[in-house]
């Protein structure tokens, strides 16, 4: 019987398998359709447009590698790449460490946990434009609350969004303030660490710091990996805060159209997505913008793969223990 089935499946069994496959496909269809329509197609279309001259109105004209070659003589392209890489490096580390730090402190609190957790999470619900403007007002070097407090100690406030050296740290500060979403995820992971592990470590004589380092951190490492990847993507796509901070710094936050000064000061807030938007929708060069988007996608993809592989290797080494 088995041999017969192996040689030639019974027609009834084949139909059942086909029906099963169809059912699986049917259940997966909404996800597959969504993926193809909202990810696959735009991705392929972007790559196609990147080889064209396309002004959004007329049909695209094939221009070969022109858009990619133009990147080498475009000073703002280099500047935008540098700015975004700065955010990838600094914001990723700062956001993950900040969220981990806050979550670790909240996890150890004995009272008022609910209130403090809510207060730390709330800023992440603020609309990004409003949050950035509030921060802009708070950090205002001339009469802002932060400058006033520094003044009590005889210190001058940095010029934040008017000084190219401070504009990116200023935006990073905003991003940390609204990182409550990541904090909540890490807090959940910390609270999920089995109590027995802490007790065993305590019996072995581990103090709070060693328990945190040897028990908490390895256990929540998959969540930290998520946090890092999420922060990298956030940094690569940084747009709203950069536009609002740059235009508010230049006094044009309430202007419309081309009078809104993007990248201020000295293009230090001109992130890759901001420049991409500028090329596509202000200069009507969607072909060039698509080429930039393709480059951004390749960079994001590369960075994510490297990160995931390194973290996986780290986890495998941790699980294998000494000598593994």
């Amino acid at each position: 019987m088995t041999a017969t089935l192996g040689a030639r499946p019974a027609p009834g069994r084949g139909r059942a398998r086909a029906r099963h496959r169809l059912a699986v496909l049917g259940f997966m269809a909404p996800a597959i359709i969504g993926f193809v329509l909202f990810f696959g197609y735009p991705l392929v279309a972007t790559v196609i447009f990147s080889f064209t001259k396309y002004d959004l109105i007329n049909a695209p004209e094939f221009t070969g590698l022109d858009n990619y070659l133009f990147m080498f003589k475009d000073p703002l392209f280099t500047k935008a790449i540098q700015n975004t890489l700065w955010f990838v490096a600094v914001l990723t580390i700062a956001r993950t460490v900040f969220a981990l730090g806050v979550a670790s402190v909240i996890a150890r609190l004995k009272s008022g946990v609910g209130l403090i957790r809510t207060l730390c999470y709330l800023p992440s619900l603020a609309p990004p434009v409003a949050a950035t403007l509030v921060f802009f007002m708070v950090l205002r070097p001339n009469g802002g609350p932060f400058a006033t407090v520094l003044g009590w100690f005889g210190l001058d406030s940095p010029l934040w969004f008017s000084d190219p050296m401070w504009a990116k740290p200023g935006i990073t500060a905003i991003m940390l303030w609204i990182s409550g979403d990541l904090m909540i995820i890490i807090l959940a992971a910390i609270l999920d660490v089995p109590q027995e592990q802490y007790e065993a470590a305590e019996l072995d004589g581990a103090g709070p710091i060693r328990r945190w380092w040897h028990v908490t951190l390895p256990t929540i490492s998959p969540v930290l990996l998520f946090g890092i990847v999420n922060s990298v993507i956030l940094a690569l796509q940084l747009f709203t805060q950069a536009v609002v901070a740059g235009s508010a710094g230049s006094g044009s936050a309430d202007s419309t159209g081309s009078t809104k000064y993007l990248g201020f000061p000295d293009n230090s807030t001109l992130t890759f997505p901001v420049y991409l938007y500028t090329q596509g929708f202000r200069y009507f060069d969607m072909g060039y913008a698509a080429a930039m988007a393709t480059v951004l996608f390749i960079i994001s993809f590369g960075v994510t793969i490297v990160l995931v592989q390194r973290m996986r290797k780290g986890s495998a080494a941790e699980e294998g223990g000494p000598g593994a």
């Binding site: 193809v36 696959g40 197609y41 392929v44 279309a45 196609i48 447009f49 001259k53 396309y54 002004d55 959004l56 109105i57 007329n58 049909a59 695209p60 022109d66 133009f70 003589k73 475009d74 000073p75 205002r140 070097p141 001339n142 009469g143 802002g144 010029l159 934040w160 969004f161 008017s162 000084d163 508010a248 710094g249 230049s250 006094g251 044009s252 936050a253 309430d254 202007s255 419309t256 159209g257 081309s258 009078t259 000064y261 993007l262 990248g263 201020f264 000061p265 000295d266 293009n267 929708f281 202000r282 200069y283 009507f284 060069d285 060039y288």
Partner: protein, 442 residues
């Protein structure tokens, strides 16, 4: 594996086909004038603009005056529609019949891409006399001879000065030359004992408020392009003079002190604007500021005058730009849309009423001469400048405001001392602009 490759190739091919179809979509742009609507034709004209609040209401009122000529046409005015939405509308086939754009810098793109339909056939058919509009305004509403837009009022820029501060500082009359402006700025500036600026006589930071190279350009006789269409910054003495003058002022204040002062000033269209707050004594701005000042800072006593010029013979020149109106590609009722644009462009009473309501300069000579136009002493400066043959229009390119940003960025670098070589820097900016122009291919 081969099956997967084939499937992937099929997907890419399908995406290619879809992309080509989607990218080419959009209604046709006719080069012939569409017929005007009949007296009995019932239709609705959709108008998109970026106006909001009070201005939206006033413009809607102006649009409704069209019903005196065409009572059968209903006007639907939708505000807060910027150029992104107009472009997206054209692409998706959901276009308004008339689009109003605040971004005059986009006229090169609108005309050259066909996003706005050609208006010359209508102008020829209806024998419209464009000489009713000043040459500078005509200049910023067309691109390389293709008229695809008409002006809806205009903005003219001039000098504002705080009369109380001028009297207190002993500046007898508004400056007319750059040297006089520099001296007045020095006298009007107040510094604290620690060197902090408390009041700036004239704030020179490029890119801040109306300190844009396009707006300042005419006062310095700056030319944007050579006769063969190349960027002319390095070869135009006006740009060299503009940068030198800005740097001289920045050096007077000290870049760091100036930035610390500037960072505490309010946004351009808010009640916290530095001129409203008495933190700057002299500035360049458009005529609309007269209304803002009266509404938001009635305590500020101010005068207006043409902006000082590098060459005395140029005194009385000014920069002009403004809202533009066009018929987007794919508009459903182009014939009726033209009638509405013509009405808003040339109907004197409508222009005058709208000008009085939103305090912009009328775009026709007849409207500027109208006795109904409300002209006080401050607004008169702008009307006089608008009538002058020294008026200069917004430079038109197919690259949006990329050229303006390049110059502004360079000016900030140069005045801060980061870029020490003016001539070499301007050449670099020229090269950058030329590269972008060449890439656009228009």
């Amino acid at each position: 594996m081969r099956k997967h490759t084939r499937a992937a190739l099929l997907c890419v091919a399908a995406a290619l086909t879809l992309t080509a179809c989607a990218a080419g979509k959009g209604g046709g742009a006719s080069s012939e004038a569409a017929a005007a609507p009949g007296k009995d034709d019932k239709l609705t004209l959709t108008v998109w603009s970026n106006y909001s609040d009070r201005e939206l209401e006033e413009v809607t009122k102006a649009l409704k005056t069209f019903n005196k000529k065409f009572p059968n046409i209903e006007i639907k005015h939708e505000g807060s529609q910027d150029d992104d939405k107009i472009t997206a509308g054209i692409r998706s086939g959901n276009t308004p019949d008339v689009a109003l754009s605040f971004t005059t810098d986009n006229i090169g793109q609108f005309c050259s891409s066909g996003a706005f339909q050609k208006l010359q056939p209508y102008i020829d058919r209806d024998k419209v006399d464009l000489n009713q509009i000043s040459p500078a305004v005509r200049e910023y509403t067309e691109y390389k001879g293709n008229r695809c837009a008409m002006p809806m009022l205009t903005d003219v820029y001039a000098m504002y000065y705080n009369t109380g501060m001028m009297a207190e500082a002993g500046v007898a009359a508004p400056p007319k030359t750059l040297d006089e402006l520099f001296e007045a700025a020095k006298k009007l500036t107040k510094k604290a004992p620690n060197g902090d600026i408390e009041r700036a006589g004239y704030l020179p930071t490029m890119g801040f408020y109306a300190n844009r190279p396009t707006i300042l350009g005419p006062s310095f006789g700056a030319e944007w392009t050579t006769p063969d269409g190349k960027s002319a910054l390095a070869t135009s003495p006006g740009f060299t003079e503009m940068m030198t003058f800005q740097k001289k002022l920045v050096d007077f204040y000290g870049f760091d002190a100036l930035e610390r002062f500037r960072a505490g000033l309010g946004q351009e269209y808010s009640a916290d604007h530095a001129f409203h707050q008495g933190k700057i004594a002299i500035m360049m701005d458009g005529e609309y500021r007269t209304a803002f000042l009266k509404a938001q800072a009635p305590q500020i006593k101010f005068g207006t005058a043409p902006f000082p010029t590098w060459k005395p013979a140029d005194y009385g020149t000014a920069f002009t730009t403004g809202t533009i109106m066009g018929i987007p590609k794919g508009a459903k009722n182009p014939g009726a849309a033209w009638e509405l644009i013509k009405h808003l462009s040339f109907d004197t009473d409508t222009i005058v009423d709208l000008s009085n309501a939103i305090k912009n300069v009328p775009s026709t000579k007849a409207a500027m001469e109208s006795p109904k136009l409300e002209v006080d002493a401050q607004f008169k400066t702008f009307i006089d400048l608008a009538k002058s043959d020294k008026l200069k229009g917004n430079p038109v390119t197919p690259i949006g405001d990329a050229h303006i940003k390049a110059v502004t960025d360079f000016a900030v670098s140069y005045t801060s001392g980061k870029e020490p070589d003016l001539a070499a820097g301007l050449k670099k900016v020229d090269q950058n602009i030329d590269d972008q122009l060449a890439k656009s291919g228009k």
